[in-house]
């Protein structure tokens, strides 16, 4: 199956692409981004890519909200046919990707020679895509020796470019010599590749390298589709061009995850999505759910899959056109219903349009709508959401509920490169939030509420243990984010290594539970003894609880301790962060500078700073080592 079936089919796709050329550049970009989210094949992917490259070359700047990424694709055979797929998969998720294709087989020279074109390019991501023949010939099938070489080049790349590294697994292209028990023939090339792929998993984990598991995807689609020996002989293309658009999609899912851009919330319809039939008409006994019928079991299996997603940190919400009492009934009373109301972080059942309801859910949970995936069996609702909220991911749902889980898995919206403790704790955190709301309603004034919460704030500088969560927050936080600068893991590590930088990762606990890391702040001391704050962001879950006051106290103290005289803060306006426009002035910062883009620089004389009083207890887990 070479089609990306979760994407919407646009029968007029070619016509629409041709029609774009008469629009204004801004409209053309909008159109191109929309066309990238349709179900397209490798030929269309190539056309779309050429159109985007043409537009960029004509000097029409790419939309400012596209994240620019430089990716180097290094390998041992032809890779050029994979580039357009990578670039278009980038557009599909809001990246403008520049791809560097190494001369094949020259990767080692490129990595070691500081005069090379690769150094000149200076990638953010290096993806090693070696063909199976090459991997096998590296050390005649000896796994340890091959891994040793890979470790060397991973380190070279990271050391040289401060980049993230992606390693493609080996595509099992060799014909079997034995069969099912191929592993018993130790020098069988196919058996060697299997051991290599197995060993690659732990080796990559140990080195902080992310794998591009083409072996898995080829097994899913069929090796005969991913690889064609005739093409290998003719043009040294190991991955078949007809799946190049999928290859690009898989590459960019990993890059998206590295930049914290994967989705985090599922919005679920109820009738014919979580059970068969309509609860309002069919009643509790009439809906199809549970053992005894194939359809009932299919819905059960889908619910089981959703629960597993929830367990690894995907937030589940409900958006249904139903009376609330009917919508609750299966959750509360149906004996076979696996999902319970406590699993749903936000439950919306009413007769409003779904677009407004999606906005309500996003607001309630303090999530961006671009982090949402909307699952609905009704094509009308899907198209309505696509039309009005192009940033929401909306998979095409198959007719058969038995395929629901697979389509979500195929779509890869929740691609992750690691699961943090915060991911696992997210559901309990949302539940604790509801309990806080109840407390808030029971006390009369805000101070007694804050006292009653019994908040404890602990902080430590960035370190390996909290790095993943920090990178996640830096790339996902839109609203309470003073500068909205995005950094990759490698870039954050560089900041950690900078002796003039101070970093804070801040965690908040209260009587209802641990909120996890909820604020990230860092800055650098410059030669004028100004402490410049580059990033200050906070999770909106803890708004209105004096956390920013407590953080400001920490920053002022930290800056003073390293000898700063002033703190320089920045506010860089985006479409989403107006809520923090006045934060620095509130702390006594004075406006010093406004540039053409409306970015503000504000300055605080440390001697004038009044320590803020809060109801938060502060503890320091690890101090700034000096």
């Amino acid at each position: 199956m070479v089609e990306m079936t979760w994407l919407r089919n646009e029968p007029e796709w070619n016509v629409r692409l041709d029609a774009l050329s008469v629009d204004s550049p801004k409209e053309q970009w909008r159109g191109l981004l929309r066309l990238a989210t349709c179900r397209i094949d490798f030929v269309q992917t190539g056309k779309l890519d050429r159109a985007a490259q043409r537009l960029a070359k004509q000097g029409f700047p790419t939309p400012p909200d596209l994240k620019r990424v430089k990716l180097a694709l290094l390998g041992s055979s032809t890779l050029r046919h994979l580039i357009s797929g990578i670039r278009i998969a980038g557009l599909r998720r809001g990246f403008w990707v520049e791809v560097f294709e190494g001369d094949y087989g020259q990767y080692f020279q490129e990595l070691t020679n500081t005069q090379s074109a690769l150094y000149d390019f200076s990638p953010n991501v290096v993806c090693f895509a070696f063909d199976a023949e090459f991997l096998h010939s590296l050390s005649n099938g000896k796994t340890d020796a091959t891994l040793a070489h890979l470790r060397t080049i991973w380190k070279l790349a990271k050391g040289a470019f401060n980049c993230t590294v992606v390693q493609q697994t080996a595509l099992p292209v060799f014909p079997d010599l034995i069969g099912s028990n191929e592993h018993r023939l130790l020098d069988s090339p196919q058996a060697c590749l299997s051991s290599l792929n197995y060993a690659l998993r732990s080796a990559a984990d140990a080195e902080g390298v992310d794998l591009l598991a083409v072996d898995k995807y080829a097994a899913l689609d069929g090796m005969g589709i991913w690889h064609d020996a005739a093409l290998w002989h003719k043009s040294k293309q190991e991955v078949h061009p007809v799946v190049s658009h999928k290859y690009g999609e898989y590459v960019m899912r990993i890059v998206g995850a590295q930049y914290g851009r994967s989705s985090k919330c599922l919005v679920l319809d109820l009738d014919n999505t979580l059970w068969g039939g309509e609860i309002g008409d069919d009643g509790l006994q009439g809906i199809k759910l549970g053992y005894g019928s194939a359809v009932g079991e299919a819905y059960l299996a889908f619910q089981r899959y959703l629960l597993r997603l929830r367990d690894r940190g995907v937030v589940l919400t409900v958006c249904s056109k139903n009376d609330e009492v009917n919508a609750f009934q299966p959750f509360d009373e149906h004996p076979e219903m696996l999902l319970k109301r406590a699993d749903i972080a936000c439950f919306v059942a009413n007769w409003n349009d779904k677009v407004s309801n999606l906005r309500t859910i996003a607001k309630t949970l303090n999530l961006g709508t671009d982090a949402m995936v909307f699952v609905d069996d009704n094509p009308f609702e899907r198209n309505l959401v696509r039309e009005h909220m192009p940033e929401v991911a909306v998979p095409e749902m198959p007719e058969d509920p038995a395929l629901y889980a697979q389509i979500l898995s195929d779509a890869g919206y929740f691609e992750a490169i690691g699961i943090t403790q915060e991911d696992r704790d997210r559901v309990t955190q949302y539940r604790a939030n509801r309990e806080r709301e109840i407390l808030k309603d029971s006390v009369t004034d805000i101070s007694s509420y804050l006292i009653e919460l019994r908040m404890e704030l602990s902080w430590r500088p960035f370190d390996e243990t909290n790095l993943k969560r920090i990178v996640q927050l830096i790339n996902k936080t839109n609203q309470f984010n003073l500068t909205a600068r995005r950094y990759s893991e490698a870039e954050v590590k560089a900041i950690m290594a900078n002796p003039y930088a101070l970093t804070w990762s801040v965690r908040l606990k209260d009587r209802f539970g641990d909120n996890g890391i909820i604020a990230v702040v860092f800055g650098k001391l410059n030669i004028e003894k100004d402490f410049e704050l580059e990033t200050w962001l906070m999770s909106c879950r803890v708004l209105g609880r004096q956390v920013e006051d407590a953080c400001m106290n920490l920053v002022a103290k930290g800056a003073q301790d390293i000898g700063a005289r002033r703190i320089v803060g920045e506010y860089r306006p985006t479409s989403k962060n107006s809520m923090v426009r006045d934060m620095y002035p509130r702390f006594g910062f004075k406006l010093a500078e406004t540039d053409a883009e409306g970015n503000l620089k504000l300055v605080l004389e440390l001697k004038d700073y009044n320590v803020r009083k809060t109801f938060i207890m502060i503890s320091e887990e690890l101090s700034h080592a000096r």
Partner: protein
Amino acid sequence: MQDSIIYEKLTSVFHDVFDDKSILVGPNTSASDVEGWDSFNHINLVLAIQESFGVKFTSGELESMESVGDITSLIKKKLA
């Protein structure tokens, strides 16, 4: 399949692969007549033709395609 239908389908494949709606495809059209028909795009062209006609060329046939005439006769042979 009639020659005229084959040429019609081929024309549309050429337009897609080379992004040029002015290409006129005839039996003598070869790489030198079409801008962008290099060895890289040759593979894309062949694959798009395979998809469009539902045929598969062997490695030997991949070598022997020099002109649209060659391609047409191969398609006819495959579809016969």
